[in-house]
């Protein structure tokens, strides 16, 4: 299969698709930057008044602070400066912390991505598995149970369900921690930003590494499950219907007629085709996961992008908001590009259609 990817023409195709998409991506990012920039400035209140706030300050002091932050310039000028910086990779510094936006983003993104990637993996594996089981037991009780489960999961508001999970598993049963990424006694220096990896890289005895890993894993469990529920349900339903459709196809009957084992007929000949639309859905779920992460992080006090952006909005930290939103958009857009190329790659027919 790797060989397929590297045949000359499919490489050309991927380049062509990528360059066309790159143009679209440019437009998208321009739009996002405009919206992020102007929308937050339309919200009443500005960072300076909020910072100085009730303490009160002389109008001169306020004006001076505004000038220092560049807020005295015209909006057009401010946007121009922001955009010019962004193109160079400089998103300015946070008004609140004084640290570069990009650095803070990367730190927070590590926490969010650890949560989001694990949730997406869980949703994909469990969703595809559940979908297969349901398709193979179509109409029987196992199918009914798993599909009603999917509908239930799908329609559960994430906020309510997160709180219920905390109440049950953390408070009542005390099986899992309530919030945070790891227990306070572990001080894991961040390298990759993923605690599950970093705890193996810290200078400590084996026992402590294992204990830190275990603690990080326990902290991840509930938020990952909560974040994975909606995508899981969507992926399960998509897998089920796609597999049922494919099982009725002539080529699946051909595979049976060749006397292949049911494992091979379903698991290879049918599933390979059934997964093509599922890959697209998994890609769409990336967006769902990112928005879900904001809620999940709030519920579980997870120090990720969601909480970072929410508090930036509360304090009108303009550089963090405009830069952070732009960077989130960059991530969504790149991952969806990757998913597009992936679905091209797994379907020979699409690959050729895209070529012509």
């Amino acid at each position: 299969m790797v060989q397929i990817l590297f045949t000359e023409w499919s490489c050309n195709l991927i380049l062509k698709t990528a360059s066309r998409r790159l143009f679209e991506i440019g437009l998208t990012l321009l739009g996002v930057s405009l919206v992020a920039f102007f929308l937050i400035r339309m919200v009443p209140g500005d960072p300076v008044t909020l910072m100085i706030g009730e303490r009160g300050a002389s109008p001169e002091a306020i004006a001076e602070l505004k000038a220092r932050l560049g807020l005295d310039r015209s909006l057009i000028e401010q946007y121009g400066l922001f955009a010019a910086g962004a193109v160079r990779g400089d998103l300015g510094v946070s008004i609140l912390s004084g640290r570069p936006v990009l650095g803070e983003f990367l730190e927070r993104f590590a926490a969010t991505s650890e949560l989001g990637v694990l949730a997406l993996i869980l949703a994909t594996i469990a969703g595809v598995g559940l979908g297969i089981v349901a398709a193979l037991t179509r109409g029987r009780w196992l199918d009914r149970v798993s599909m009603s489960l999917a509908v239930t999961l799908y329609s559960m508001p994430i906020f309510w369900w997160g709180l219920m999970a905390i109440v049950l598993f953390s408070v009542k049963l005390a099986w899992l921690p309530v919030s945070g990424r790891i227990a306070v006694e572990y001080d894991v220096p961040l390298k990759s930003g993923w605690l599950l990896i970093d705890c193996w890289m810290m200078e400590a005895a084996w026992g402590e590494k294992v204990a830190a890993f275990w603690s990080a894993l326990r902290h991840l469990t509930l938020p990952v499950i909560v974040l994975a529920t909606v995508p899981l349900a969507v992926i399960a339903r998509m897998t089920r219907s796609s597999l049922l459709e494919v099982i009725g196809e002539d080529y699946v009957r051909t595979a049976r007629a060749k006397g292949l084992s049911p494992m091979r007929v379903i698991g290879l000949h049918a599933l390979r085709n059934a997964l093509i639309p599922v890959v697209t859905v998994v890609g769409l779920m990336l967006g769902t996961i990112l928005t879900g992460a904001i809620l999940t992080e709030t519920i579980f006090s997870w120090p990720g992008l969601g909480r970072w952006l929410v508090s930036a909005v509360q304090s009108r930290d303009y550089p963090v908001i405009q830069g952070g939103v732009l960077l989130v958009a960059v991530i969504v857009v790149t991952t969806s590009l990757i998913v597009d190329l992936l679905s091209f790659w797994i379907s020979p027919r699409l690959r050729d259609r895209g070529r012509s």
């Binding site: 196809e249 002539d250 080529y251 009957r253 051909t254 595979a255 049976r256 007629a257 060749k258 006397g259 292949l260 084992s261 091979r264 000949h269 390979r272 085709n273 093509i276 797994i346 379907s347 020979p348 027919r349 050729d352």
Partner: protein, 320 residues
């Protein structure tokens, strides 16, 4: 080499009984053309032989392959026969090949899993040979092609190749050319019958074209409304059909060289529905030669010899 005997095969889906009573025998190395109108139960009969009927089908009767009953086999034994001793190709080659795998992969898996050839180089060599055998020019260039990159005729050749890769003793071909361009239809049929001869396998050829079947096959089985009506040598069927339905079919056949103005003589009336209960002869409603007994009683026949299911041929008109 094995004989195939189908005896009183009936297939039901609840109240529908699309295959009512099918009997025939196909001796090793011979070819049998199964001819009948759309809906006469040809494909269902073929699928029953493969053990590929939908789960809800209720099957009765006897299917015997080389003296072994296909119905009493376990699913495991059945799978050992399916695709290995009895292979099948289908009507529409464009939908019958898996769009996600290359031609080579789909042939290779038969050689690997059904013939147990371990060496992949050996499998590739054998696979390319087979592709050559089915008349694919420059097989190496097709080995890594995907089905959508092939024409209909090429796809059907690939489908034949993957069915023959397991060296079956019986090949079932269910209207293998109906979906193809007229120009390639004959090529594919000639290929099929020449391969049959070369390999000495038996061939069950399903078609709705009596003259094509008559030209190519050793024997012909005529089916109507889920019943086998007449089984005879191809020459005999074309020259002196015994059953009134076969006679009507031949009369309705367009004649070569006949002017385009010639009217086809069609059979009046329509085929009984699969849900209809039929007490007498299934053809009675449309038969020109029907007499009073035909609607009361079903004409009998036996499976192992050539037969025709009509009272007239048995000179039974006066009895009762």
């Amino acid at each position: 080499m094995k004989n195939l005997i189908v005896d009183h095969l009936s297939i039901r889906f609840g109240a529908a009984n699309p295959v009512r009573d099918v009997c025939f025998q196909l001796d090793a190395g011979r070819s049998l053309g199964v001819v009948g109108e759309s809906g006469s139960g040809k494909s269902l009969t073929a699928l029953a032989l493969m053990g590929l009927l939908p789960e809800q089908a209720q099957v009765s009767g006897e299917l015997s392959w080389g003296g072994r009953s296909l119905q009493t086999m376990t699913e495991r034994e059945r799978r050992a026969v399916r695709g290995r001793e009895i292979a099948m190709i289908f009507q529409d080659p464009m939908t019958c090949l898996n769009p996600s795998f290359t031609v080579g992969f789909q042939i290779d898996e038969v050689l690997k899993l059904r013939l147990g050839i371990r060496s992949s180089a050996e499998r590739r060599k054998r696979g390319l040979e087979i592709l050559g055998d089915v008349g694919i020019p420059a097989p190496e260039t097709r080995w890594d092609a995907y089905p959508h990159q092939l024409s209909g005729g090429m796809s059907q050749r690939v489908a034949i190749a993957q069915a023959l890769a397991s060296e079956p003793e019986l090949l079932i071909a269910d209207e293998p050319t109906t979906a193809l361009d007229v120009t390639v239809q004959m090529q594919i049929l000639e290929l099929l019958f020449s391969l049959k001869k070369k390999r000495g396998m038996s061939l069950l050829f399903v078609t709705h074209d009596l003259s094509v079947a008559g030209r190519l096959c050793d024997d012909i089985l005529v089916m109507y409304a889920g019943q086998s009506l007449e089984l005879a040598a191809a020459g005999a069927i074309l020259k002196s059909p015994q059953h009134p339905y076969t006679q009507a079919l031949l009369a309705a056949r367009p004649h070569l060289g006949g002017g385009s103005g010639d009217r086809l003589k069609t059979i009046p009336g329509s085929v009984p529905r699969a849900t209809e209960q039929i007490r007498g002869c299934v053809f009675a409603a449309r038969c020109e030669k029907k007499f009073d007994r035909c609607e009361r009683e079903a004409p009998a026949f036996d499976a192992t010899s050539k037969f025709n299911r009509c009272f007239l041929s048995r000179n039974e008109r006066g009895s009762l």
